[in-house]
Amino acid sequence: MKKRKFGLTMSFLLAAGTILGACGGGDNEAEKEGTTDTGEQTEETFKVAMVTDVGGIDDKSFNQSAWKGIQEFGEANGLEKGQDGYNYLQSQSDADYTTNLNSLARQDFDLIFGIGFMMQESINEIAGQQTEAHFGMVDAVVEKENVASILFKEQEASFLAGVAAGLTTESNKIGFIGGMQSDVIERFEAGFQAGVKAVNPDATIDVQYAEAFDKAEIGQSIASRMYSSGVDVVFHAAGATGNGLFKEARDLKAKDPSKNYWAIGVDSDQVAEGVVEIDGTEHNIILTSALKRVDVAVNDLSTKAKEGNFPGGETTVYGLAEDGVGLAEINDAVTVKADIETKVQEYSDKIKSGDLVVPGTLEELETFSAE
């Protein structure tokens, strides 16, 4: 009796499995037909997609900015979000990069972006296998014929942020929170330090690394230590970890509105993250943001690829002169706003014209002088 019951369950399961399996197969065929159909109708449809790193699509910073660029490109070209237009896949761990990139390549996306230097190895590997597909590598260089690499001169944006920080600080103590030690974040750090030194040689900079791009709680504890040691301006280049900095600054500001707790955003204009309402009046703790226009670069590369000018094997560097990096609006509540704006303008012009080369590594920083 027992045996028979067990057998019945097993056969039921097997039957269910078979039916499900059949379902899967059938759908597959239907889908394949579907795609070929649309392929014939709109042969010109250009499909573009991106894979996020572990920060996720709504990291309020790097990935989000890239996605914004793809959305803008999609809307400008009448594409729809989904399999036949533009899309994104999120990675939940390092192991997902390769799978995600590969599934997009298998879905015949014309251009696939890998966002973040952590994807370098995966892109390198897959570009070698999927030689028909085109890839965009943001923040690292992959030397393959079908990969276009995009780099930024982050140091130029963070130099300007450093100028703003150096002029704003009253305690002459400034903080920097980095994500992980890497070439990209080193550019941020070196540029920022150079910017501060250029306008305020007396200021000291407390540099801390969180060793993570997705840990807001670590960001908050570092920020808390910095502010309590007298630091009044903190700049972060740490992706979603930086959200902890904003939270700490907002909390402190809410407790004591008369004091200044400034934070500088990164990648996107993060002004929306700094709003604090105290007794009905709105304050904002975001001094400004060092913009890294991933959206501009992604949009730009997509347009080039669509027109058939995909710069395979090349590395495009976006700096201040190309509008690839920049500085957001300065907060109105800063007393020295006008001074900052003139200085920032002055230095921007110098950088754009090439009179001033901002150091991109800590080694270069040692010999740097703004004169």
Partner: protein, 348 residues
């Protein structure tokens, strides 16, 4: 109803309940549940490439599940599989990059290094538990973080020159196979799956067929009775943790020598070690159960990546379904109670 049959039914019902509630959640949040499950299926088995990726994901899951299950069977909660996995990973890669040997020595040496590293890392909580009665849960959790940061430092200083990742391992130490790559259209499936299955057999053999295994289980059931019966409880606790850690270290070798072929600075845990707890739980802490549960978890994990693309469903939702399955397994008492009631009614 026999207890064996019940042990099989409970996980199956738990999975079905998890899927059912997941379906309801999908429908309530306005997604097409049928399309969602189709996408999940296609993402895991719709294409030989994805199936290869499922096998790739299943491999470390089996080993991590075995690690948790082995400790659990002997009365210990090894929450530190994650940390043991990370040290195993780094040890395997270290051997992989710094030695120059023929494959027949190099690969076994790298695998062995991972096993030893994991075993040593698990020896610490085992020793502390046996000697000073320090609870292994606390020690293993703390050692997870210790492992994470020590290996990060090790990668930056020893394995690279201040970079965020090591060199790729030598091909003589790699588990990857051009044969599987060709078979599965460049998936990252590798030879490790055989190591995982052999380990499952070893675990079954040790626990069920050897005197030592009987002792280990006896200590798990009742320490005092075992001691009274003349068994060396302390030694068995340490041995159990070391074997558990060996499995965990091997799981790390799968990642280091198979999936990735290098190691990189980690901002957080890989999650494989923690998923191993769920795998062991769903697999009722038996070797065969762990293998089956690992296959289920691996398919869900890889298939889930396809859900946003094909059906527009966020993969957080798949995490919710997995969480629900674990929830129902953990609350198996409810299912047990229901089965008892139903079978009693049938008997009447």
């Amino acid at each position: 109803m026999s207890s064996r049959m019940r042990n099989i039914l409970i996980p199956i019902i738990a999975v079905l309940l998890g899927v059912l509630v997941g379906t309801i959640i999908m429908i309530v949040s306005g997604y097409d549940a049928v399309a969602g499950f189709q996408a999940l299926w296609n993402g895991a088995f719709g294409d030989i490439y994805f199936t290869g990726e499922v096998v790739r994901q299943v491999t470390p899951y089996i080993l991590a599940g075995l690690a948790v299950a082995f400790a659990f069977r002997t009365g210990l909660f090894n929450i530190g599989v994650e940390g043991q996995l990370i040290v195993g990973w780094v040890a395997a890669v270290w051997v992989g990059v710094s030695f120059d040997l023929p494959k027949i020595f190099h690969l076994p040496l790298a695998v062995l290094a991972a096993a030893v590293a994991g075993a040593l890392w698990a020896f610490i909580p085992g020793y502390l538990k046996a000697k000073f009665r320090v609870h292994e849960v606390i020690v293993t959790i703390m050692l997870n973080y210790t492992a994470l940061h020590i290996t990060n430092h090790f990668i930056r200083t020893v394995l690279s020159d201040g970079k965020e990742r090591s060199e790729n391992i030598a091909t003589t130490a790699s588990l990857r196979s051009p044969f599987f790559e060709g078979l599965t259209e460049y998936s990252r499936m590798h030879w490790g799956i055989f190591i995982a299955i052999i380990c499952a057999i070893i675990m079954w053999f040790i626990l069920e067929k050897t005197t030592r295994g009987f002792e280990l289980r006896a200590v798990g059931f009742n320490e005092h009775a075992s001691q009274y019966a003349g068994m060396n409880v302390k030694q068995n606790i340490i041995l159990s943790m070391v074997i558990s850690g060996t499995f965990a270290g091997l799981a790390g070798a799968m990642e280091g020598l198979g999936t990735f072929g290098y190691t990189a600075i980690k901002g957080g845990f890989t999650g494989v070690g923690f998923d191993g707890i769920a795998v062991a739980l769903l697999g009722a802490n038996t070797a065969i159960g762990v293998v089956l549960a690992a296959i289920l978890f691996g398919s869900l994990k890889v298939g889930a990546l396809n859900m946003p693309l094909e059906a527009g469903i966020p993969n957080e939702l798949v995490d919710i379904i997995i969480a629900l399955i674990i929830f129902f397994v953990a609350s198996s008492y409810i299912i047990r109670w229901f089965i008892d009631r139903i079978s009693k009614k049938g008997a009447k």
